[in-house]
């Protein structure tokens, strides 16, 4: 029997505009790999990560993915945060028949036989969130996003969902991923004039803190007009300060505050490994459980060959920190829990709503 390690690619930015959140995904990945290896590896062979830093640059994502699959002899890559980087890597993994595990919520409307999607599709977060906002705050939404694929596509869906609920988009602005603090301050003036019921944010990366801070500086009140988001997690709240984030709303499959036994264990080992003041978040959690799903499937087939591994992955189930999850064989996406949370004074999320079971992914929103 071979004792050669299972070599896997890990592709998350450690530098550049989205490094803050991608580094947490890197940590989630590493934690899972270390756990698996500590328990004896997969069929007595350890998993060895080959890690590159694409520097938040989509072209480097594509080049490094190609290097991993073509030169380094790897078949499996855990990686990508932004949709732009995933779109850049997609043709590479399809051409080389690799398997990309993508642990980030995204805008849906995609299917690749070479990608396993473990983050939420719009029907698993946006639908619930829009329902809640319209019921509790009103139908007038003001959309602020970073300027790339995900915010524009996600907002197209939000607009559609709003229309079905007789709601209205009363403002829509996109700022560069590297936008400055002052640009958000300027935007708050328009918000004051329009006075929407809710600000809907798809701002990602460092700029997230600027948005929420500009909101706080403008003296707005989250009880009256909250910022709602699909991407503002514990990591971003830590960056902006709990006092700034308090009262705002996020829809996600996972919050650190979820009370499950497997989440308790996960949070404890994450803090033990990376420090007591490091919160977990939805992206860490997906990055973490997807490695375990991979290991489970790998143990069964004992080969990294994508053609053999993938059919097994497509039926895998796992007790993730968010609850029991399973990969949907139809769509390559994951059955995930739908939750809404509100930031409290500790920078954690108080649960507002949660689904009674994992929600089936519907990436093309066929049923909406």
């Amino acid at each position: 029997m071979s004792s050669e390690p299972w070599r896997v690619g890990v592709l998350f930015s450690q530098t550049g505009v989205t490094a803050v959140i991608e580094e947490t995904q890197l940590r989630g990945t590493m934690l899972a790999i270390e756990e698996i290896n500590a328990a004896g590896g997969v069929n007595s062979r350890p998993i060895v990560p080959i890690i590159y830093d694409p520097g938040s640059d989509c072209r480097r994502f594509a080049l490094l993915a190609d290097k991993m699959l073509a030169e380094d002899g790897l078949n499996t890559i855990f990686g990508c945060y932004t949709s732009s980087s995933r779109k850049a890597v997609l043709p590479v993994v399809e051409r080389r028949n690799g398997l990309l595990w993508y642990p980030t919520l995204y805008e849906g409307f995609e299917y690749s036989p070479n990608i396993i999607y473990t983050g939420a599709a719009p029907n698993q977060n946006s639908v619930e969130l829009v329902d809640f906002l319209v019921e509790n705050y009103g139908p007038r939404l003001y959309l602020i996003g970073s300027d790339y694929i995900y915010p524009r596509e996600s907002n197209r869906i939000i607009r559609e969902l709003l229309r079905q609920r007789c709601g209205k988009v009363v403002g829509e602005h996109y700022l560069d991923l590297g936008a400055k603090r002052s640009e958000f301050r300027l935007l708050m003036r328009d918000v004051r004039n329009v006075h929407p019921d809710v600000i809907f944010s798809t701002v990602v990366g460092q700029a997230t803190a600027y948005l929420y801070q500009a909101y706080a500086d403008a003296g707005f009140d989250p009880h009256d007009m909250p910022i709602a988001s699909l991407t503002t997690s514990e990591a971003e709240v830590k960056l902006m300060g709990a006092d700034v984030g308090r009262g705002h709303i996020t829809a996600a499959s996972y919050f650190q505050s979820i009370a499950t036994a497997s989440n308790d264990a996960f949070v404890r080992s994450y803090k033990k490994r990376f420090g007591n003041d490091e919160p977990t978040n939805l992206c860490v959690e997906a990055a973490y459980f997807q490695v375990h799903v991979f290991a489970k499937a790998l143990a069964e087939v004992n080969t990294m060959n994508a053609d053999i591994l993938r059919p097994i992955v497509l039926h895998c189930e796992f007790d993730a920190p968010q609850g029991h999850v399973s990969i949907d064989s139809e769509s390559s996406h994951t059955n995930l829990w739908a939750r809404l949370g509100r930031v409290n004074e500790h920078g954690q999320f108080d649960l507002i709503r949660e689904s009674s079971q994992a929600v089936m992914p519907d990436p093309y929103l066929v049923s909406h």
Partner: protein, 202 residues
């Protein structure tokens, strides 16, 4: 480390060589056998292959045209054309588009590379094809869900979100895909309205 030769391990591969058993034919058959492949020889070309295979080596000549064209429409079959420098078979390449090409007189060292290319290209095409099929299915179920929604809205006096909700719920309860449920609703509804028309005629 995975070496490149393991990529052209032809054990578990059934290969057909559609070529006369002359010097080139013998060389090719021996080469494929050395890589572990099971080989059948077929000559003259005929219209179809006698048995299911994974890799086809076939002369690019008018007599083999039907066979070649059939082969290139079969998903996951790697087709390697064999072209004669002396004849004008090159215009036939346009029609048959094999996954890789060998040129006569054959040279043993040129064969593995072409097999590698052909296998890669055929598999990539098959994967892309399966992706397209899946996306087309999604597109179809989109249309069906829209139709089913319209039926529910008019027959049951439902609003749009309500109709969608009903479809989702029923699909979940019956453990079928939403597309399958919508198709059932549309088909039943069509059948019922046909019966109504026939009833009115009677």
């Amino acid at each position: 480390m995975k070496s490149t030769t393991s990529c052209i391990d032809l054990r578990n591969f059934d290969c057909a060589v559609v070529h006369p058993r002359d010097r080139d034919g013998e060389l090719l058959i021996r080469c494929v056998q050395r890589m572990g492949g099971r080989v059948v020889n077929q000559w003259p070309p005929g219209q179809i292959l006698d048995q299911p295979i994974n890799v086809l080596f076939c002369v690019v000549e008018p007599a083999a045209l039907t066979l070649l064209r059939l082969a290139t429409t079969q998903a996951d079959l790697a087709v390697i054309g064999i072209l004669d420098t002396a004849n004008s078979g090159i215009h036939l390449l346009k029609i048959t588009t094999p996954h890789a090409l060998l040129v006569r007189p054959l040279e043993a060292h040129a064969i593995p590379g072409q097999i590698l290319l052909a296998l890669h290209n055929a598999r990539f095409q098959a994967r892309q094809q399966s992706k397209i099929t899946k996306l087309e299915d999604t597109l179809r179920s989109y249309r069906k869900v829209e139709q089913a929604k319209a039926i529910l809205m008019s027959r049951r006096n439902m609003g749009e979100p309500e109709a969608y909700g009903y479809l989702r719920e029923q699909a979940m309860r019956r453990r079928v895909s939403i597309g399958a449920l919508a198709t059932a609703i549309v088909d039943t509804s069509e059948m019922l309205s046909e019966e109504q028309v026939e009833g009115a005629r009677e």
